[in-house]
Every structure is written in C-alpha cells, then in structure tokens.
C-alpha cells in the first residue's frame, strides 16, 4: 500500500510502515503526518497483522520537521495549531496501532522524527544512529503528545535532559538509558527487527492484542488529556522573538541571548 510519502510493505503477520522521503532524509511535513495516520488506519484493518516494523527509507529514520515548511507557518495561528494537531494525530495513530510496533532507527532521528520512533512499543537502533529532541533549541515546546512518550521511555530525569538541553545522543547512551532495547550494526538492523517482530507474531494473537492494549491504556491513560494544550504551547512559543532568533542562529551557530519575549 502506498501514499505520497509513506508506504506499507507486506500483508502477513509482519508488515513494515516505511517513511518514504529518502531524498530529504524523511523530513516530516504535513503530508507525511497525514500519510502516517492514514497508513496506521489501513494497518489496523489488516486482519492478519501481528507486528509492525516502523523504519525510514534511505540514510536516516527521519530528520524531523521540514524546515522549508516551517517558514510558511509564520502564517495564520489556526494553521500552526492544525499542523501541531497533525503531529499529535500521527504519533497517537502509531501508539494506537493494534499490532506490536518496533521502530528500527538508523542515521538520524531528530525532533518530530524522534517522536514517531518513540510512539512505538519497542526501539532498536543502529550502532551509528543519533537521536535528538531539538525543539527547545529552536525556542519551541515539545508537542505532538510526545512528552509523556519520552518520560515513559527513559524516565522523568533523562526526559528532562533530552527535552530541555536538546542535545544529540548516541546509540550506546540511549541503550543504557532504556531508549533502545537493542543496538546492532546497521546492516543487521532490519534482521534484528524482524526477529523481534517474529517473537511476538509467534504468540497466540488474542492475549498479545489484549495485553498490549491494556498496558497502553493504563500507562497512557492521561496522555491526551494532560497534553491536550500541546498545540497551543508550540504555536505560542513559535510566536516569540526568541524562537525567531533561534531559527536564525540554528544554522549560523552564533551564540544567542534570549530575552523571554
């Protein structure tokens, strides 16, 4: 099955949800967010699917927000809010997939790209991959209902480090922190994901379905409610002069002085 920026491969017990903008490192734009949600809806209709591997075509998992599109968003508030909602919808669509989900992360997983990976049940990384949640460095709050996902993956303290300092972390560190369940050489990434997927697919399907749904319901009970203002947070922070300056110095590397305006 194919959409403009995403494809779903396979029809048996294990399918792959593939981010498919390899020419720009699977940068996330509105179309990709819509396509991810649509692909997840389609996967939930597959009667035989028991596990989903989420991966990126090309050199990276996903380099995050398409910065070309970001410039257009200096437009209407409602468009910025809507865009943030699309992000939350895509992240929640992945989390709400009935089959077990495994993110296979190679290259870069940045910002919104990291959010898509964190939405899965399990994460496997390549030895050379790098993950960063860079929103704060751009003067933006982390939205897309992804704060709880980060906390649930690595605990509150590491989540604060990752989100508030906006640094990039290597695979070894993330394995130690529990972000990754396994780290393997890049050539072995997909086979490792397949092996993990097969373990879940080999179990009786009803208890696997019920167990995942119940664990998620319990752990994620407050996710949408507590974070329902996410889209306001990122829209408002994006209006600040600090965010404007951050976007300018992000590429120049100059040191900025923040004014809380």
């Amino acid at each position: 099955m194919e959409w403009e920026t995403v494809k779903v491969e396979g029809t048996g017990h294990i399918v792959e949800l593939v981010l498919n903008r390899p020419q720009i490192h699977n940068a996330v734009n509105a179309q990709l967010l819509r396509d991810v949600a649509a692909a997840c809806a389609a996967i939930n209709e597959l009667p035989d699917c028991r596990a989903v591997i989420v991966r990126g075509e090309g050199k990276s998992f996903s380099s995050g927000a398409d910065l070309k599109e970001q410039k257009d968003l200096r437009a209407a508030l409602k468009h910025r809010q809507h865009r943030a909602k699309l992000g939350a919808n895509a992240v929640n669509a992945i989390s709400d997939l009935y089959p077990v989900t495994i993110a296979a992360v190679h290259g870069h997983a940045i910002g919104g790209g990291a959010c898509l990976a964190m939405a899965c049940d399990f994460q496997i990384g390549s030895e050379t991959c790098s993950v960063s949640i860079r929103e704060a460095a751009l003067g933006l709050s982390l939205s897309w209902n992804s704060i709880p996902n980060t906390v649930q993956l690595v605990g509150p303290k590491r989540a604060k480090q990752m989100i508030l300092l906006a640094k990039a972390y290597d695979a070894a560190t993330l394995l130690e922190w529990g972000f990754f369940d396994e780290v393997v050489p890049e050539a072995e990434l997909l086979p490792a994901a397949q092996r993990m997927a097969q373990e879940y697919a080999d179990m009786p399907p009803l208890p696997v379905h019920m167990g995942k749904a119940s664990i998620n319901a319990y752990v994620r009970m407050f996710n949408r409610a507590v974070f329902h203002m996410d889209e306001v947070g990122v829209t408002y922070s994006g209006l600040t002069e600090d965010a404007q300056q951050a976007a300018e110095v992000f590429f120049s590397g100059e040191k900025a002085t923040w004014h809380y305006k």
Binding site: P47, K85, A217, M221, R224, M229, V232
Partner: protein
C-alpha cells in the same frame, strides 16, 4: 460533499452533517460508520468550519445498529473489529475540532443515541424517543460510550437507561440533562442554527480551546477504562442467553435464560 450514506451541506463556518439513509431511519451499518468517519475527517481538514449541526434525514435521527446484521455472528476478530470501528468513529466525532450540535428527532436507538451523545450539544424535537437497547439484545454498550453517558445524565440514570433499556421521550431527556433544549419538530433545525450562530459570534480560538479542555477533563478516563469494550462486545455476543435476548426482543415473549 456526499458519501453513500452521509452528506455534508452548507458552506462557511456552519455545516450540516446529515445521516442519509432515511428509508431505514438512518440505521447504522459498517458503510455508515465508515462514511460518517470520513465525513468527520473531511470537516477536520477544513479550517473554515466552526460549527457542525448533526442531524438525520427523514423521520428519525438514527435507529441504531442495523438489526438485519446479527452482531453475534462471525469470528471473534470480526465481531471485535466491528466494535472497534465504531469506537474510532465515536472518538473522532467527540473530539472534532468544530463545535457540534446534534438536532435529534424521531428515533434515537442504541448506536443512534451514542452518535448524539458524541456531540457537544443536543437539541431535541418533540417527536424524539431515546432508547439504549444494547443490553436488551444481549450485548454491552460499546464504542467507549458509557463514560460520556454517565457524565451527561449521572450514574443512576445511566444505569437505568443501559441496564433496563427503557425508552424515554423528549421531556424526560430534557429533565435529566441529555438534551439542552426541546422544541417542536418543525423548529428543530432553526433552533440548532440559532445556537450555531451564537457560537460563531464568539472568537474562534478561545471557543475551540474551551471545548478541547472540557472534553479532556470530562472524558479522559473513558478511553482507558473502556479500551476493552470491543472484547466485551464479542464476549457478550457469544453467549446463548444473548441469542435468547435478541429473539425475545423481536417476539416480545419472555426469554427463558439458561444458567451460563
């Protein structure tokens, strides 16, 4: 815009989402669930829409699950699947960005009641009759609806409606808080449009945020507590007594339940 069983009318900030199976009192079948879901997604994408009036073409709002389709039939996965697709629709409609006003007349039965409950406001026409008949036909009330019902009418009335499967008229539904207003059938659409005009007079962003916050507070436990609704739906449908209850519902004879 139109689909097989649903259409969207109007342009500008106020639209009508119209159930369009009048020949069967807008009974709910898989096509209907799919079409209403797709109509909601179309509305969600259109940032010019601020209010949606949800109503039924013909004599009724919606008579609920199409009883021509026996929900107790089919493998477990199919029975669960039918219930899950309804839950997804309920979620999308409940959390639709625009404010929703259900204009309800004639019959609202089972899933038909649920569709009205998923809206922010409900205005009734005097011909309205409301009945939650799921338990009476041997099933649980599914689509993660119970929390919303309890929020709207309180636990005691919710138990009465769901356990006993009673039918209620518009006056009773107004008194218990299910309806916000009750008007003659002929004035129903005008009343909904008047309320929609009130909404449009308010600034868009604060109005939309207030809806999101009320829903977050009032309904967040619902999804978690009822995440196994679809399993319960398959489970209740699998019992022999469920079949007896359905037969009795149509024949009006007293069911002779067995010891299950």
């Amino acid at each position: 815009m139109s689909w097989d069983t649903v259409k969207i009318e109007g342009s500008g900030p106020v639209r009508h989402l119209v159930f369009n199976r009048p020949q069967v009192h807008n009974a709910v079948n898989p096509q209907f669930i799919c079409d209403v879901h797709d109509a909601c997604l179309a509305i969600e994408r259109d940032l010019t829409v601020r209010v949606v009036i949800v109503r039924g073409e013909g004599k009724s709002f919606s008579s609920g699950g199409d009883l021509q389709e026996d929900p107790t039939l089919g493998p477990v996965s199919l029975r669960m699947h039918r219930s899950k697709s309804g839950a997804r629709l309920h979620d999308v409609l409940t959390n639709l960005r625009p404010i929703t006003i259900a204009a309800m007349h004639g019959h609202a039965i089972g899933a038909g009641v649920v569709l009205g409950l998923a809206c922010d406001f409900r205005i009734g026409g005097e011909s309205l009759s409301v009945c939650i008949n799921e338990v009476s036909i041997g099933l649980n009330l599914t689509w993660s609806t119970l929390p919303a019902l309890v929020q709207v009418v309180g636990p005691q009335r919710a138990r009465e409606m769901v356990i006993l499967g009673r039918a209620y008229n518009g006056r009773q539904m107004l008194d218990c808080g299910f309806l916000g207003a009750l008007v003659p059938d002929g004035a129903l659409v005008a009343a909904a449009e008047a309320m929609a005009a009130e909404v449009v007079r308010q600034p868009p962003i604060p109005a939309a945020l207030a809806k999101a916050s009320v829903n977050a507070y009032a309904l967040h436990m619902g999804r978690a507590l009822h995440h196994m609704d679809h399993l319960a739906h398959a489970y209740t449908g699998a019992s022999h007594n469920s079949r007896l209850a359905r037969e009795a519902y149509f024949s009006q004879d007293a069911p002779a339940y067995i010891d299950e």
